[in-house]
């Protein structure tokens, strides 16, 4: 695979100098195409205090196809499906927006940005988006409750879960609204 060199470089960059509040590792040392990221809930958001697992799968065509990013930890968020694995709606990753010049680090920062500032106008969970817009207090309460319920303690990257994420790689953008 021609992009091995780049992926290796990106990985070492992300490991040595990770974006704020993140830890990057490989799901399996033999495969640079599957990354595990532990993301601390950003301060001043209802997600603070939680630790969230992110799985990034790089398709074989990477960087000509966007990586597939999913939440391994359940999260109450308008742009993340309320199930496992949580699919993310991130404009950057959509087929028409993805550029081979984007770095994974950029993607990670964008995911974190999504937690700081949800995008209710481009939701995956319309109900949560409505709630976010109309009743911010209730939304924050629910989000905090999810953090307490799911995002405490060490992140579990379910083996099965990871492979599901791998399947999702076959249809990137299929779930995006």
């Amino acid at each position: 695979m021609a992009s091995q060199k780049r992926i290796a470089k990106e990985l070492s960059e992300c490991m040595a100098n990770p974006p704020a509040g993140m830890r990057v590792s490989l799901a399996n040392d033999a495969d640079v195409h599957k990354w595990h990221i532990v993301l601390e809930g950003p301060p001043n958001t209802p997600y603070v205090g939680g630790t969230f697992g992110l799985v990034i799968v790089l398709p074989p065509e990477y960087p000509f196809k966007a990586p597939v990013v999913t939440f391994a930890t359940r999260i109450y968020h308008p742009n993340v499906t309320n199930d496992t694995p949580g699919k993310i709606c991130l404009g950057l990753l959509k087929t028409e927006n993805w550029k081979p010049s984007f770095k994974i680090q950029t993607v990670l920062q964008a995911v974190r940005g999504l937690l700081v500032e949800p995008q209710p106008d481009d939701p995956l969970e319309a109900r949560i988006a409505d709630e976010f817009r109309s009743d911010r207090k209730e939304f924050e309460k629910n989000a905090r409750q999810y953090v307490t319920q799911y995002a405490k303690g060490p992140v579990k990257f379910d083996k099965k879960l990871t492979s599901t994420a791998g399947d999702a790689a076959a249809t990137p953008g299929a779930s995006s609204s």
Binding site: M1, A2, S3, K5, E10, E61, F64, K99, P100, S101
Partner: protein
């Protein structure tokens, strides 16, 4: 891929508001036949709108309300039922092309364009045909509306869900680009045939195309076609130059530009290192196999058809162009309308994956990739602009007013709206002869040329004749024009097969005519046999006499009676009305009176 959706769509159409989208045989719905048929259907259908069915010709314009075809019509609405059935059997509906299905729905106007926009890579002539058909079908619809408007208004409303579903399907539809990333070298007469039923302007221009460009190479229409075409042309030209030192110098030059991409383009090296390495590896490879040109070209084809390598090289070119723009803001700044300025333009127009190459990008790539090497890019624009021939432009601009012999190697592209393919001209040496012959044979040449022009596609066959592949320089045109003039033989024996006469000694070469043209190996881009063409065609194209009055394409009929009768397909009353259509093989009678065609002047198309 799209077939299931098409099927679902047909379902909706037949239960809803559908137009059997056959070719526009009847554009005159106001005739008594049309009115009585349509009116009768709607009356007996009892609220369900009957389809006017023109059974005689086997075509129908069905205009059915919900349930019309099935239960709704009830008592004797055979017309409607028939219309419903015919919807399934009309050729266009049963086609596997997803394009046609959704685009034929009434009230779906907005996504005609959507569809066409997405589909233009699949085949341009299709779109042209759509335009054609649509224009006519709207007439049809309009007339039906006049007679049945109360019903149809209701129907439209009850059907909005269907329409919404159709619209959604059309919106989500992702065209699947077809064909290899870089296709094999193909005789450019294929383009002529592709457009033979299209818009008259395209017909005219594509007819003239093979006279200048014998071959073309299709590039997959995935949005990177312009980049890929120039990239491929660049490598191919390097191979054809056969200069190993040049290739290595180019490699060194591009390697040094990595720094430029990094410093000026603002790109981190490791992001594009892999991509640039693919370019360098391919340069290295072709420099090593250069002695065996066939092998080098095969390597090039393989590399450009391997998506990972091909996309890497294409993206490397995008990075080069982007960096070049950032390093040369001054000359381009005024042309960039993006509200995010030059940097934003780079992001959104150059570096976006599979974003079409626009004019600015093309200039940039020429400046950074081709110009320093002395390569010249010539783009042939095949569009609906006026004029009998395609327009060509050379890049860089300095090359525009110079004779080709004064310029470096040239890469030719064929541009059709939003798509680029590579073109290969007929042999350069002969273009020189052609110019020479132009002045000498001015009087003689037009006639044989006018005749032969009809046979442009078939003349491929002649390309295998050795005698034509290497005419003695300077002398050749004269010999051809005089001894080979078919004028006398045509006028004296109208029934004789035209193919044999253009040659001085037909008996001798007859066998070779019938031999099928040998498949042209890609390794021979300047295909020698086709040298026969420019001698005979091209000067004709430059004669105002012919380009202006357009006679060579006009269907020629011997009698005014026939010409004005509806048996003439060019007559608007003909059921198979085809305006100004060129039909290969149907024009033998044209040869009977070559001069009479010249005298008939009818305005341009």
């Amino acid at each position: 891929m799209y077939q299931p959706e098409t099927a679902a769509y047909i379902q909706q159409v037949s239960s809803g508001y559908g137009i059997a989208h056959s070719l526009p045989q009847y554009t005159f719905e106001e005739t008594p036949l049309g009115l009585s048929s349509g009116g009768g259907g709607s009356g007996s259908g009892g609220g369900a709108v009957g389809g006017g069915s023109y059974g005689a010709s086997g075509h129908s314009h069905g205009l059915g309300g919900p349930g019309t075809a099935g239960a709704g019509g009830g008592a004797g609405a055979p017309g409607a039922g028939l219309a419903g059935a015919l919807i399934y059997t009309t050729p266009i509906f049963s086609t596997t092309r997803g394009t046609v299905g959704p685009a034929s729905g009434l009230g779906a106007g907005p996504f005609h364009f959507h569809q066409q926009a997405q589909h233009h890579h699949n085949g341009h002539n299709q779109n042209v045909n759509h335009n054609h058909i649509h224009a006519q079908n709207h007439n049809t619809i309009a007339t039906h509306h006049q007679s049945v408007s109360p019903h149809s208004a209701v129907k439209m409303e009850s059907n909005t869900d269907d329409l919404a579903a159709q619209e959604a399907a059309a919106r989500d539809y992702q065209p699947q680009p077809e064909g290899p990333l870089v296709g094999p070298k193909t005789p450019s007469t294929a383009i002529t045939e592709e457009y033979a039923k299209g818009d008259p302007i395209y017909v005219q221009k594509t007819m003239a195309l093979p006279q200048t460009y014998s071959h073309y190479r299709p590039i997959r229409g995935d949005g990177s076609c312009g980049w890929r075409a120039i990239g491929f042309g660049y490598f191919e030209t390097l191979i054809n130059r056969g200069d190993k030192a040049l290739i290595l110098a180019e490699k060194a030059r591009l390697e040094s530009l990595n720094d430029y991409i990094e410093k000026v383009g603002g790109m981190v090296l490791f992001i594009f290192q892999d991509m640039a390495d693919e370019t360098f590896a391919l340069l290295q490879k072709i420099s090593e196999t250069l002695d065996d040109r066939k092998q080098a070209l095969a390597d090039l084809m393989d590399a450009f058809n391997e998506p990972q390598i091909s996309d890497s090289i294409v993206y490397h070119l995008r990075l080069l162009a982007s960096a070049w723009l950032k390093g040369n803001r001054e000359p381009y700044a005024d042309f960039i309308t993006s509200d995010r300025g030059i940097d934003g333009y780079c992001e959104s127009n150059i570096l976006a994956n599979h974003r079409e190459m626009d004019h600015i990008s093309l200039n940039l790539l020429v400046d950074v990739l081709l110009k320093p090497t002395g390569f010249v890019l010539e783009v042939v624009y095949l569009d609906r602009s006026a004029g009998p021939q395609v327009n060509t432009y050379r890049f860089p601009e300095e090359a525009r007013n110079q004779h080709p012999s004064a310029l470096g190697p040239m890469i030719h592209l064929l541009f059709r709206p939003d798509h680029y393919d590579i073109l290969y001209p007929v042999d350069m040496d002969l273009q020189v002869h052609r110019v020479a012959s132009f002045s000498h044979n001015f009087q003689i040449a037009p006639d044989p040329v006018a005749l032969q022009d009809y046979a442009a596609p078939d003349l491929q066959v002649l390309s295998v004749i050795p005698g034509y592949s290497a005419p003695p320089p300077g002398l050749a045109p004269l010999v051809d024009a005089t001894t080979g003039s078919p004028l006398t033989s045509y006028t004296s024996s109208p029934g004789s097969p035209w193919m044999s006469s253009p040659f001085a000694d037909p008996t001798h070469q007859q066998h070779q005519h019938q031999a099928p043209p040998a498949p042209i190996p890609i390794s021979a881009p300047a295909v020698v046999p086709l040298q026969a063409h420019p001698l005979r065609f091209s000067e004709y194209c430059q004669l105002r006499e012919y380009t202006d009055n357009d006679t060579w394409r006009e269907p020629t009929f011997q009698t005014t009676t026939f010409k004005n009768s509806h048996f003439n397909v060019a007559h608007y009353n003909n059921p198979n009305f085809q305006p100004e259509e060129y039909k290969p093989g149907a024009d033998e009678f044209e040869n009977l009176s070559p001069r009479s065609g010249g005298g008939r002047k009818r305005g341009s198309v």
